[in-house]
């Protein structure tokens, strides 16, 4: 380093001696200037490659994968989309029945979104706007629920639903999801309601609107961006959820969600990995689409929701 610095100075000394000297600042700026791009490239590879690999394996034939596991691309002539038909078609016709799993996942996810919003919207409005007995305690309770270990909750719910015979029903699972998500949902929505100036609601109230009228006509439309973001957030949680789906639905294949189906079939030797990769793609794509379509909305909602925890 020292000789390098001297060389550099002797070569360039006629330009601008002050500016060209190898100070610590200059070295660091250089190093970090380069390092930054190396790091960004590294992160891009680390985060994107697994998903690229997922897509790649899903369109290659199993034999080709075994012959050449290190291939990083597939030539157009080798593209093999049979994996998708195989994973989607029903078990009777030799497939894996992911179409049914997708229907179950969609039912549960949309149901959770609808029910959660139905319950959380009035709740969030109340916590944000209305002074009632125990409001503070309720906020604390919700935060506690949010941070609670789900495995601890899994034990009694599993036992209880086994006992009353509701295990294995989609609606039972739906209620479990709503109960776990509603606290976070209220937390996020409440923060948004807090930012809506109250003067708007007051003027509506002066014009003769009732509390419910104010909520329906003023606060709800204003909170639409937050509601949409929250709905998407809930959808992603419900679509991705695994533990409770496993505990509740594992016995009946007809009721499996995509997550559960993939995890259950992943262990079997008979099903080619490439077919299951097609299943992963089917599981992941809806989430990625939602995410990229709403990235800004979601990240703002996420940080706003938890920043204040």
């Amino acid at each position: 380093m020292a000789t390098e610095a001297r060389q550099d100075r002797s070569q360039d000394s006629w330009v601008a001696p002050q500016a060209r000297r190898w100070t610590r600042d200059r070295v660091e700026n250089r190093v970090f200037g380069v390092l930054r791009w190396v790091v960004i490239a590294g992160f891009l590879i680390a985060t994107l490659f697994p998903f690229y690999y997922m897509g790649l394996l899903s369109i290659r034939g199993l034999d080709e994968v075994i012959q050449d596991p290190g291939a990083l691309w597939v030539s157009p002539s080798e593209v093999n989309l049979n994996t998708y038909t195989s994973v989607l078609s029903s078990p009777d016709s030799g497939g894996q029945g992911f179409l049914v799993f997708m229907r179950n996942s969609a039912l549960i996810a949309f149901g959770t979104v609808g029910l959660t919003l139905l319950v959380a919207l009035p709740g969030a409005y109340a916590v944000s706007r209305l002074e009632f007995f125990g409001r503070r305690q309720i906020s604390v309770l919700f935060l506690a629920v949010y941070l609670f270990p789900s495995i601890l909750l899994a034990v009694p719910l599993f036992v209880f639903f086994t006992r009353i015979g509701l295990r294995g029903s989609l609606s039972g699972l739906l209620i479990v999801y709503v109960s776990q998500i509603v606290a976070v949902s209220i937390y996020m929505l409440r923060n948004y309601f807090d930012t809506i100036p109250q003067s708007l609601e007051e003027s509506a109230a002066l014009d003769g609107c009732t509390r419910l009228g104010v909520m329906w006509r003023i606060s709800l439309p204003l909170a639409m961006p937050a509601i949409v973001a929250n709905g998407l957030f809930v959808f992603m949680i419900a679509w991705n959820e695994f533990l409770f789906a496993l505990l509740f639905l594992v016995e009946e294949r007809e009721k499996w969600t995509v997550s559960l189906g993939l995890s259950q079939l992943a262990g079997s030797i008979e099903i080619p990995t490439t077919v299951l990769m097609a299943g992963s793609v089917i599981l992941t794509v809806p989430i990625i689409v939602i995410f990229f379509a709403s990235e800004r909305l979601l990240t703002e909602g996420l940080t706003a929701g938890a920043e204040k925890g």
């Binding site: 985060t47 596991p69 319950v119 601890l152 899994a154 034990v155 509390r211 299951l276």
Partner: protein, 341 residues
Amino acid sequence: MSPDREGRTAASAEPASPGPAPRGTTGRKPGPSLRRSDARAGLVLISPTLVIVVFMVVLPILWTVLLAFQPLSLLTLANTGLLGTDYTLENFRTVVTESGFVGSLVTTLLYSVLGTGSAIVVGLVAALAVRHAFRGRTFVRAAMLLPYVAPVVAATFVWRTMLDPQFGIVNHWGTRLLGWDEPVAFLTQSSSEISLIGIELSVPTALLTVIAFEAWRSFPFAFLFLMARIQAIPATLEEAARVDGATPTQRFRYVLLPQLLPTIAVLSILRFIWTFNSFDDIYLLTGGGAGTEVVSVRVFNYLTARGDIGLASAQALVLAAILAVLVGVYLRRFAPQEEKT
């Protein structure tokens, strides 16, 4: 709580409002009847949530406490009442004396401390790398959040396939390019010997792999928060330090890092709680084998495979209690520091 304060400033900053109208009863003085009707409306609106949370979260957890004191299994469940009759400390005695539980507790601690730490460090590096605008930054940012939003089942499945000793791509290129002697069984080998500069080391392979997965999967969460914090730091601070001749590392050490510490503190506690309880990742990657059995996976196995409800509840409770103690100690140590900033 800060949301209150935030809400108030937002409302009073509104110039159009004639009287500053903060939340609830603090600013405007509603008459007694209005206040009463507000209180009633509030309770009505919150009650559906409350009912669901009480019946589906609070009561079940209280019930777990009862279950933990009973010798209960899935087979005898049908014959026992909701509250049970014969209470005993047997489950807890088994939990404490059995070596398996303590071992898996140590694994859980290792996993959550290292997982949390590496996720935050990686997230910080990512946030620093993309803090200044460049072409395509939005895309890079979105890409970095992918591991966090992607379904855990799909992510673990891809990792398992990539790390497969037979036709996994990591071992394929590792043996060809990096000169590995033989494929590494990342997820099924509990320890392996590697020689580093002539020193033979025993490394817990599978545990390190699941920790790496945890870092990969949850660094975006840290990244998101640190990024938001970094953007909120006034540029003048760093500018002043730069004018005074501070180099990039010095600016990071003495200007940026102190600003980020409160966020890092909050992050480490949130991530620690979630990692400490996490079940999905390890269950899906190794099934709890090869020295990666964390307590939550163990609880799951006791519950489903053995059907031993009593022991499962007792272990889950001990897990929650330890978590509560750790979090309590942490909050006591760091909470005052956070409030100052």
